[in-house]
Symmetry: C2
Subunit: 281 residues, 2 copies
């Protein structure tokens, strides 16, 4: 995780910008240029990367939106990871893969080695078999990357499974993260995805994982706010990277500005907001 920590400190930002290029929300300037959907997605994402680079610790690429564009979409995914690298922005591949053993190893190789993301998100439903192969790959590559395992997510139906049991399932998922983590960075290489939308759950997960790095979705567009972020901070007021996707990407929809300028302003103010809350790295 050190690559994320170093980038966050360099830019004084705990903000992660999520690249979710939703097809029917691409800005008019891009849609009207007569490009194919693949090329329009590429142009949009490239514009966003350059615009937000000074204000974000990392970018999170949502693989689904590239996957739905077929093999050409995966080529764009590859090139955006390259571009982010060239800008000094670490990439979190938001793939949430959840398979086991050699299959998990193949996914890990795909996203971390072939496509070259620094970090990846994974789904722990199948247990440790689904998480360890990703950690092995990051350790092999030794670039300061890491693996964020879903623990307590921010979506409306998250609790249907995650809150079941006593203690609830998310506690077991947190323990799996604790036991899996290693490496020689300031944070263990196994981190957790914990939404900012349920502060009580967030505080409990932080108790169980006092030393882990969290990737926190749900800020802004999904309704999470300052209290949700604070609930996740570690004893030093650090340890949390906060993701915002739609609030940055589609800021032009409200402002009428060029999408790049709107995204830049949105990223800058989200960074300041998070500093105001006291979140730092």
């Amino acid at each position: 995780m050190q690559i994320l920590v170093d980038s966050a400190r360099r830019r004084q930002s705990v903000l992660v910008a999520g690249l979710d290029p939703i097809p029917d929300r691409l800005p008019p300037a891009v849609l009207e240029a007569g490009l194919s959907e693949v090329r329009a997605t590429e142009a949009f994402c490239r514009g966003i990367l350059v615009a937000i680079e000074p204000y974000v610790a990392a970018v999170k690429l949502q693989a689904a939106y590239f996957e739905r564009l077929g093999p050409a979409g995966m080529q764009v995914y590859a090139e955006l990871i390259e571009q982010a690298d060239a800008l000094g922005l670490p990439v979190i591949a938001d793939v949430k893969r959840g398979d086991i053993g050699p299959v998990a190893a193949a996914y890990a190789e795909a996203h971390l080695a072939v496509y070259g993301a620094a970090c990846v998100t994974v789904n722990p439903y199948m247990g440790n078999d689904a998480v360890l192969p990703f950690l092995e790959q990051t350790r092999l590559l030794n670039r300061g990357g890491g693996v964020f395992s879903l623990v307590a997510t921010s979506n409306p139906s998250a609790g249907e499974l995650q809150n079941l049991g006593e203690p609830p399932l998310y506690e077991a998922a947190a323990r799996l993260v604790r036991d899996a983590g290693g490496g020689d960075g300031e944070y263990p290489d196994a981190g957790a995805v914990v939404g900012v939308t349920h502060p009580k759950v967030g505080r409990r997960v932080r108790e169980l994982l006092p030393d882990a790095l969290f990737l926190a979705p749900g800020y802004g567009a999904q309704g999470g706010g300052a209290e949700g972020v604070r609930s996740l901070l570690d004893a030093r007021g650090a340890g949390v990277l906060v993701n915002s996707s739609r609030g940055i990407l589609y800021a032009h929809e409200d402002s009428g500005l060029d999408y790049r300028e709107a995204a830049r302003q949105a990223a800058r103010s989200a960074r300041e907001e998070l500093r105001g809350i006291g979140a730092r790295m």
Copy 2:
């Protein structure tokens, strides 16, 4: 799910062949032809598809092995789905995606509409938000496809999360499948992935889902046998498709036969074994 049921009856087979082209297990005849890894994978899978076609209800493509070959690998994945279609073999895209809302919808569009698989596997850790968009896509396409949601998997660490709680988590996952299913086929369009490796768990899941179609991994190479399969059968002795991957694909390693002939024989005998157990459609 009707497309799977019809194919199983036509071929008198409840066997699903899993296409897991593990790079260092490709047969010598393919490896020595001097092809690139992408082309070798393609040649191997194409050979297998033709060889096993008469004996299997469907093929299950393990997306990870194509993903690790980059965009060119996804092109092969697309072409194999086309070839299977041309052979009248329904494809289950084993993607185990587990994301929510518009992201899940993008994955569903990718694998069911763009790549054109009939069925897909999904991961329910995030709750219904992660399952329903896939069902919506299959209903929209209306080709008799369906969605297999992970319930109780066959891997060694499966129980780390799935067995927690009282009642255990896998029961909640089964209820999610029950509540999500619909459509006008003989089986609901929401099915379950239930391993053959834990018969007691299998019987319980069958109690909760008396009418659902199960996709059952763990047969053969993973140690599951006749008792495991029987535990999953519905009241009519039907309702289960049994997956075998390595036992078919890599049959040449033990037999010394051409890989196609070895796979064909392995598929034929697995089909007969399953008929012997009393599993039918």
